[in-house]
């Protein structure tokens, strides 16, 4: 069974400094029921790949087929509106996907212990409750495939640990595709390892092989030292600092 199938995908980004071809004729099949962790250095196209899979950017050429429901990237805020309450935002995402909203918001309420805060506008949330809300809400709906760009779990203190346990629980029920720069994350959460390099994705049945390949590539590229030093927390925080989308 295939969860997501990328067939001959080409993607070019038009940036300020001209066009950059991120992928050319990329074909990958992500198996259903396993967690695929993708390693890649900065600028290797990890985020683009996750966005292509989630449909938040479209390929120039090629097809992307999804079996079942694919989640928005974990802790992504784009679907949420700052002036709507946490509960209303969850219900909207549930409704769009044809899933049960009240069950999901009840789960978030229990899991985060946010209580009455859940009925307040998202813009009033504190940093910690915002993080808790984003991660719990991401796993509250029964998607078939969860995707993540760097941030798989978050929050602080005991919540952080419970959130990591929640990821493990979801791994038993659904497929995962996540991109990261940290080999540690692969060891913890992946069944299958992948290395993204030069616009091609190589999958390894053993996570250890993926990590070895990645580290070898990483040594070969000179600028990569500082990127490894950076903790995945940095990217996580970057995601959380994003506003909840425009206010009308």
């Amino acid at each position: 069974m295939i969860a997501v199938d990328l067939d001959d995908v080409t993607k070019t980004y038009r940036g300020k400094h001209g066009a950059k071809r991120v992928f050319e004729n990329l074909s990958v099949r992500f198996p259903a029921g396993s967690a695929v962790g993708i390693l890649g250095t900065k600028g290797s196209g990890k985020s683009t790949l996750i966005r292509l899979i989630g449909g938040s950017t479209l390929p120039d050429r090629g097809r992307i087929r999804r079996q079942g429901l694919v989640s928005p990237p974990i802790a992504n805020t784009r679907a949420y509106h700052a002036s709507l309450s946490g509960r209303e935002n969850i219900h909207f995402v549930a409704r769009v996907n044809g899933l049960d909203g009240p069950t999901a918001s009840a789960f978030v309420e229990n899991f985060t212990g946010l209580g009455a805060t859940l009925d307040q506008p998202l813009s009033t949330y504190t940093r910690e409750s915002r993080a808790r809300f984003l991660f719990a809400a991401s796993y509250a709906l029964p998607f078939d495939v969860y995707i993540a760009d760097e941030a798989l779990f978050g929050g602080s203190g005991p919540f952080r640990e419970r959130c990591a346990a929640l990821v493990q629980a979801r791994r038993a029920q659904a497929s995962f595709i996540f991109a990261t720069r940290s080999p540690q994350m692969l060891r913890r959460f992946a069944d299958i390892g992948g290395v993204l390099h030069d616009g091609q994705l190589q999958l390894f049945d053993r996570v250890g092989d993926a990590i070895r390949t990645f580290l070898a590539l990483d040594k070969a590229t000179p600028q990569s030292d500082d990127t490894l030093e950076e903790d995945d927390e940095v990217d996580e925080e970057r995601d959380l600092d994003e506003p909840f989308g425009p206010l009308e």
Binding site: G55, S56, T57, P72, A79, S83, L84, V96, G98, G245
Partner: protein
């Protein structure tokens, strides 16, 4: 695994191949969700603020009535000035509101490719349908009110004709709205330009006059305006003897369908760049 397909309905949608019907069902679900969200977002400050959407067109009509009564204007047709203006202004508002609200729809929603299931076209359609539904409620309220004041003609003598006219005007609004939606996501200024242009149509669409009573030369020029035909169609449902020499239903529907197809084609061509 095979057993699951038969016994577990939860697994059904994962294993079965998607059909065209599934596609429509998904789209309907997405559009309904977007409409509910839009209503909620418009009533952020107070639960009652969505009422403004209903009150606003009526207030504009009241203003117009006041001015016309002050200058002693008599209706071009029938005995009630309120009904004559009402039957003109409702299709006019329907068209300008539906086509105009689509212009900034994609950007305003903040949902550009935030969720796999939500496509830009759904955002535009959701706004257009919500606006149509709002105007339908306003129209029912308005004509019930006029009826209550003793004008028996406010209940359309040919309800089907009035409904057809309303629907055809909505089709035109949605078609032009889709084109606006695509243009609007490239040029922010388009909302302003189109807003001014569409509002000035009020003088060319027969809100204040009966096209058939105009001189032939003017009538010919006016007849190119598709919205005028929407008004004529709608109005002819209310008055039994309303002159409909100018009215061309096929022109209105043809214009509506053509703009709908152009809108859909533009959306397809620029899909990856719509903001």
């Amino acid at each position: 695994m095979v057993d699951n397909v038969f016994f577990d309905h939860g697994d059904d949608r994962r294993t079965r191949h998607a059909t065209l019907f599934d596609g429509f069902r998904t789209q309907a679900r997405v559009i309904a969700a977007l409409m509910l969200r839009e209503i909620r977002l418009r009533s952020i400050h107070s639960r009652l603020s969505y009422l403004l959407a209903f009150v606003e067109p009526i207030l504009q009509l009241v203003m117009m009535m006041t001015i016309f009564t002050l200058i002693g204007r008599r209706p071009d047709f029938g005995t009630s000035l309120l009904l004559f203006l009402g039957t003109g202004i409702m299709p006019f508002f329907l068209f300008t509101h539906v086509s105009g609200r689509c212009t900034g729809a994609i950007r305003a929603s903040g949902l550009v490719r935030a969720l796999t299931a939500v496509q830009p076209i759904d955002i535009m359609i959701a706004r257009a349908l919500l606006e149509t539904a709002t105007l339908l409620i306003v129209a029912v309220m308005l004509f019930s009110f006029i009826y209550a004041t003793g004008v028996r003609e406010a209940f359309p003598i040919q309800p089907i004709v009035a409904i057809q006219g309303f629907a055809a005007t909505a089709l035109l609004g949605i078609g032009v709205g889709l084109i606006n939606g695509v243009i609007g996501s490239f040029f922010r200024l388009w909302a302003v330009i189109y807003g001014v242009a569409s509002r000035s149509l009020i003088f060319l669409s027969g809100v204040f006059f009966v096209p058939d009573l105009m001189p032939p030369g003017i009538r010919y020029v006016l007849s190119w305006n598709p919205l005028l035909h929407g008004l004529e169609w709608f109005r002819s449902g209310f008055y039994l003897t309303y002159p409909t020499l100018t009215l061309s239903k096929s022109y209105l529907i043809g214009f509506g369908v053509a703009s709908l197809l152009i809108g859909l084609a533009l959306e397809r061509v620029f899909r990856s760049r719509l903001i």
